[in-house]
């Protein structure tokens, strides 16, 4: 025969329909003789009725899960974008070799803030030939 703490556990199994047939038979026999456990059963069933009011569902606000999940992708795209810009720079910006091949004898001056959208011809004013440099020195 089980003790009272065991019957309390059985009552919980019983009110949730998770009790085995064997234990149920034992509990019902006990309940017929124990008013304290019958009162416990009544209170558990009443509590379950009150608790049923907690089942209402509330609308959930949009959670930014997709953004969080997308962070690695966003970072990857950003890095690819930077790499693309980096490898494209010589084509749109200052390419010493290209300039020297285009105008041998010309020297590239240091530019403080080159505009990468400019094409090569737009940089002509920034270059001076060796002759012009020598003239300036004189």
């Amino acid at each position: 025969m089980a003790d009272h703490s065991e019957y309390k556990e059985m009552l919980v199994e019983f009110v949730y329909g998770e009790i085995s047939r064997e234990r149920e038979g034992e509990l019902l026999r006990h309940l017929s003789a124990c008013s304290e456990c019958r009162e416990d059963l009544r209170q558990l069933l009443q509590a379950r009725d009150f608790a049923s009011a907690l089942r209402k569902k509330y609308p959930s606000p949009p959670v930014l899960v997709e953004e969080k999940v997308a962070i690695p992708w966003a970072a990857l795209v950003f890095i690819l974008f930077l790499l693309l810009i980096f490898f494209n720079l010589p084509r749109n910006g200052i390419d010493k070799e290209k300039i020297q091949a285009y105008q041998p004898g010309w020297e590239v001056l240091e530019l403080k803030s080159p505009d990468f959208s400019l094409v090569l011809e737009d940089f002509k004013d920034y270059f001076v030939t060796e002759d012009e440099k020598n003239k300036t020195r004189r």
């Binding site: 309390k8 209170q43 509590a47 608790a51 209402k56 569902k57 509330y58 997709e66 969080k68 999940v69």
Partner: protein, 170 residues
């Protein structure tokens, strides 16, 4: 929610992961809201749980235990909030709450967290005693004992609040 979606998500299929997160978001939010009683905390917990699920689903062993696994994560996150918050609780009863709902919500929040969580896992989420023992990592006997005392405490608080609000029934 199909097992197939979980299996595909576990393999790393992005679409399947997104489907799972969308399906689970309302359930986790509601659980966190009812447990913490505060929509801001509930949103934070939901976001963190879903993020963890999306990152760790590839390591999920039992597909059938997906919900138990998700709620174990949720419990961890909720306990973190409890740890930070200590005893300062700002309870927000849903504005549309009816009498019974409002009383039950308030009564639930007068219980200690270990009683509150077991009532929510059983009464609202419908987990079996065995599943709850896995979620909370406690023996089944402990789950039953906690449920017994939690239900009795909820009933007591509910009736006390009702009496305070409406007076003793004649």
């Amino acid at each position: 929610m199909s097992k197939e979606t979980i299996i595909r998500a576990r393999k790393g299929e992005r679409k399947a992961v997104e489907t799972l997160l969308r399906e689970w978001q309302p359930r986790i939010y509601n659980f966190a809201l009812k447990h913490l009683g505060n929509p801001d905390d509930a949103s934070d917990v939901t976001q963190q749980v879903l993020f963890t699920v999306s990152r760790k689903i590839s390591g999920l062993r039992e597909v059938g235990a997906f919900s138990v696994w998700v709620f174990s994560i949720a419990m961890n996150e909720i306990r973190k909030v409890w740890g930070e918050r200590r005893r300062e609780v700002l309870l927000q009863v849903p504005p549309s709450a009816g009498e019974k709902e409002g009383l039950a919500f308030a009564a639930l929040h007068l219980l200690p967290p270990h009683q509150r969580e077991i009532i929510l896992l059983k009464e609202v989420e419908g987990f079996s005693i065995r599943e709850i023992s896995r979620i909370l990592s406690v023996p089944e006997g402990t789950v039953k004992s906690r449920l017994f005392y939690a239900l009795k405490a909820l009933r007591e608080q509910y009736l006390r609040l009702k009496e305070e609000a409406y007076g003793r029934p004649q």
